[in-house]
Amino acid sequence: MIEGKTTISNQMGLHARPAAQLVKLAATFSSKIFLDNGSGDVNGKSIMGVLTLAAECGSDISVKADGTDAEKAVQAIIDLIDSGFGEVAGEA
């Protein structure tokens, strides 16, 4: 199990659009992927799971992956979160 930590940086937090980007990216890896912001793991490939995090801007999140491409997966997801999901400030 590979784990990495980051902070949600886009102003709107992990709402539906960024969550969809995240699960789409997660689905491209064969590893099992989990996200956790302190209240237990959710499946990183499930949109409903990622939405339950309700991870707002500034909240810490850990990305875990288990499988052959786990390292790549964790890095890619952290990069996506850090990129701010290409969101323009103030836009929902």
């Binding site: 969809a20 309700a54 991870a55 801007c57 500034g58």
Partner: protein, 320 residues
Amino acid sequence: MTTVADLLESLGDTLQLEVMTEDLSLDREITVPEITSPGLVLAGFVERFVSKRLHALGETEMAYLENLSARERTKSLDTFLSYDLPCVFVTKDQPIPEELFSVARKRKVPVLRSSLSTSQFYRLITPYLREAFSPATKVHGSLADVYGVGLLFVGRSGIGKSECVLDLVERGHRLVADDLVNVTRRGSGVLIGKSEEVTSRFMEIRGVGLVDVSALFGVRAFRQQKRIEVVVELADWDDARDVDRTGLNTKTRDILGVEVPEVVIPLIPGKNITVVSEVVALNHLLKYSGVDSAQNLNDRLVRQMAEKRDLKKYLSEDYE
């Protein structure tokens, strides 16, 4: 191409038409979906005359012609009919002057008479003309009426469009067309789908062959035509394919210049596409009654996150 003969065949009874010039060919093309009355053209004023339209001689025109001398009448009608009109209609069963017959024969323009009043005649002929001239195409796919929503199933051959529609019919929905859908555009934004005449009510189920859906399931299982409201693409499962996960970004597909909402459903064995199709239809209805499920959940989430952020900020400034 629509000819006067086509018009007579489809609308002869509705318009109560009678062919007055039996000897003239009705194989003349109608080129525009418009009908008018010649009015001032009969008086010799031809400047703004649109001759390619269909023309109906109403009571005003006939009364005017009657007031002319026989020579003037011939001259007036000869000017009118020199424009190679598709045909001439006379409304309200009015008697036809001899000069109209002779000029019509000379110019080979057929004369048809209706017992309807001019305004009724206009009203009944217009929808036919509009339909005959509306843009049309054929789409490879199956069309079903699901809870009143027209779902057009598309996807590669053999992916299971017909099976999906059959399952929907079994659950009480209605088949419109299987395999090939004739689509016409009404106005600027409405697409109407119909079955091919020969194959209507039938579908092909692989392994079984051709089945008569209305014989199997009764009249309720078939619908003559339906507005196409959502395109449902059945696609092979492909992890790399960009499939909408939230429903926030409605995709559309262009059919005859109309943007129709499109949903892509990736298939895996054991997946119940019928139920998914029902949800697609219901979600479409819901959206049009003002409820956007995906947007609502997202709004709730954004609100919750904002509250959490505000609370965190408040507590972080709390130095008691």
